[in-house]
């Protein structure tokens, strides 16, 4: 059971039996469940899962229903990471004592959290788990806003985005702070593996997830998850939005091994201007007014600078 699941192409992948069920209460077109399905289907091993409070948790476990076909726990907003780390520590203790009922099984430990639970509220807990190097994976479903509670800004919300606590109007262009570089922070823990993924590049994603499962030690995954409700676009355009995010390099896909070996895993053939990514979303609508147009130029410069920085790091291997 412990060997890696073979996934050569999408047809082969489609023979997986899903362990996440429909009739959850996520919005139509929500990318959360696409990401969760891609992660759960990447392995045949048993799973020990947890989810922080957030859209994923409240929508998949509405009493008396659960959408999970694996051991899954919801505890607090901040401690999904430590819950799974505790389960992993217990598993290791029982393994050492030889008291496991099925010692040949090789369970995988995965914690899910939204960007609010990871970038803000659960930050020190995640940092602790990464520092102690538990054999677990932490997945951020990054929709850049507290979508579950009505769209308040989180520290993942990018500049210019209109959120309910940083609304755009006659005197403000919305969110003023730049997005926190969570990948950089987590890689600086020198954990064995950290990666940024997007659901539209399923092959890249499955490869990284399998690499993460094969890694001994803490793994951090940051997944972009377009939110149809708070980013304000039509539910059918979720994958189009994700394509724009990766192709405009707003969400570059890369991995960091041991905090120093740096690989860019996806280089778009045709780089899309950031303006197209912004124009597709209602939360950036006000940036196209004359007085705020300079912000679009700043966006492009920031994304270009970040891409240049990533390429320099890849080249220098630091």
């Amino acid at each position: 059971m412990s060997e890696m699941k073979k996934i050569k192409n999408l047809k082969e992948f489609s023979t997986s039996a899903d362990r996440f069920e429909g009739a959850n209460l996520l919005c139509p077109g929500c990318a959360h469940s696409i990401i969760v399905r891609e992660i759960l289907n990447a392995t045949n091993d048993d799973l020990v899962l947890s989810a922080s409070t957030g859209c994923l948790e409240v929508c998949t476990a509405v009493y008396p229903y659960t959408s999970w076909d694996a051991s899954w726990i919801h505890i607090g907003f901040e401690n999904s990471s430590t819950a799974v780390a505790g389960a992993e520590a217990m598993y290791n203790a029982l393994k050492t004592k030889g008291r496991l009922k099925q010692p040949d099984r090789n369970p995988k430990f995965v914690a899910f959290g939204g960007d609010g639970a990871s970038y803000d509220i659960g930050f020190q807990w995640i940092s602790g788990c990464m520092e102690r190097n538990h054999n677990m994976m932490y997945v951020v479903l990054d929709n850049e806003v507290y979508a579950n509670t009505g769209g308040q800004r989180s520290s993942s919300t990018p500049i210019g985005s209109s959120a309910t606590t940083s609304p755009a109007g006659s005197i403000s262009y919305g969110e003023k702070m730049n997005k926190k570089d969570m990948m950089g922070i987590m890689a600086a823990h020198h954990i064995p593996y950290a990666a940024q993924v997007a659901p539209n590049k399923w092959k890249d994603m499955v490869k990284k997830i399998q690499k993460g499962f094969a890694t001994e030690g803490a793994v951090f995954i940051n997944a972009v998850s377009p939110c149809t409700t708070e980013w304000k676009f039509d539910p059918k355009d979720t994958m189009m939005l994700t394509d724009l995010a990766t192709d405009s390099l707003v969400f570059p896909l890369y991995e960091v091994i041991d905090g120093k070996e740096f690989n860019i895993t996806y280089r778009p053939k045709n780089v899309v201007p950031v303006e197209e990514y912004l124009a597709a979303q209602g939360r950036f609508k006000h940036l196209f007014k004359d007085e705020y147009k300079y912000l679009i130029k700043e966006w492009q410069e920031r994304v270009d600078a970040n891409w240049a920085y990533l390429q320099r790091r890849e080249e220098a291997k630091v």
Partner: protein, 131 residues
């Protein structure tokens, strides 16, 4: 399932997805699993839907893009072939239609009340401009 009052909930409630024991979940297809009444698989969100996808197997090339990108596990694929849409769990978001690469598309959205067979009989022809 009968609805419980606020003071009848168990503290620290645990829900079991399956009736009885199941050994290899990842190797068991959904139709072979014995779901308990607590699994959302037994629930339905069909009433969320205003438009529904209709699948025309004549044009399908089994690329499985709709399977991987379906957020609601509603595209049913067996033995690498797409065999239909799970209408109990589909919320009608339309992602499957957007990602379908065939020309004409093998999945299209129609109003909920549309008749499937009539729509398949009048399926749009190949769109030359887009080709």
């Amino acid at each position: 399932m009968a609805k419980k009052g606020w003071d009848e909930f168990e503290i620290g409630a645990m829900l079991r997805t399956f009736d009885g024991s199941i050994d290899d979940i990842a190797g068991t297809r959904q139709e072979d699993r014995s779901y308990s009444e607590n699994s959302s698989y037994m629930a339905s969100v069909a009433d969320w839907r205003l438009i529904k996808p209709v699948f025309n197997k004549d044009y399908c090339i089994d690329c499985q893009f709709c399977w991987i990108y379906c957020p609601d596990v509603s595209i049913i694929s067996r033995d690498k072939k797409l065999i239909g849409v799970d209408m109990d769990h589909c919320k009608g978001c339309g992602i499957c239609v957007e990602v379908c690469p065939t020309n004409p598309k093998s999945l299209l959205m129609f109003p909920e009340q549309a008749d499937e067979e009539t729509e398949i009989a009048q399926w749009p022809k190949k769109d030359e401009e887009e080709a």
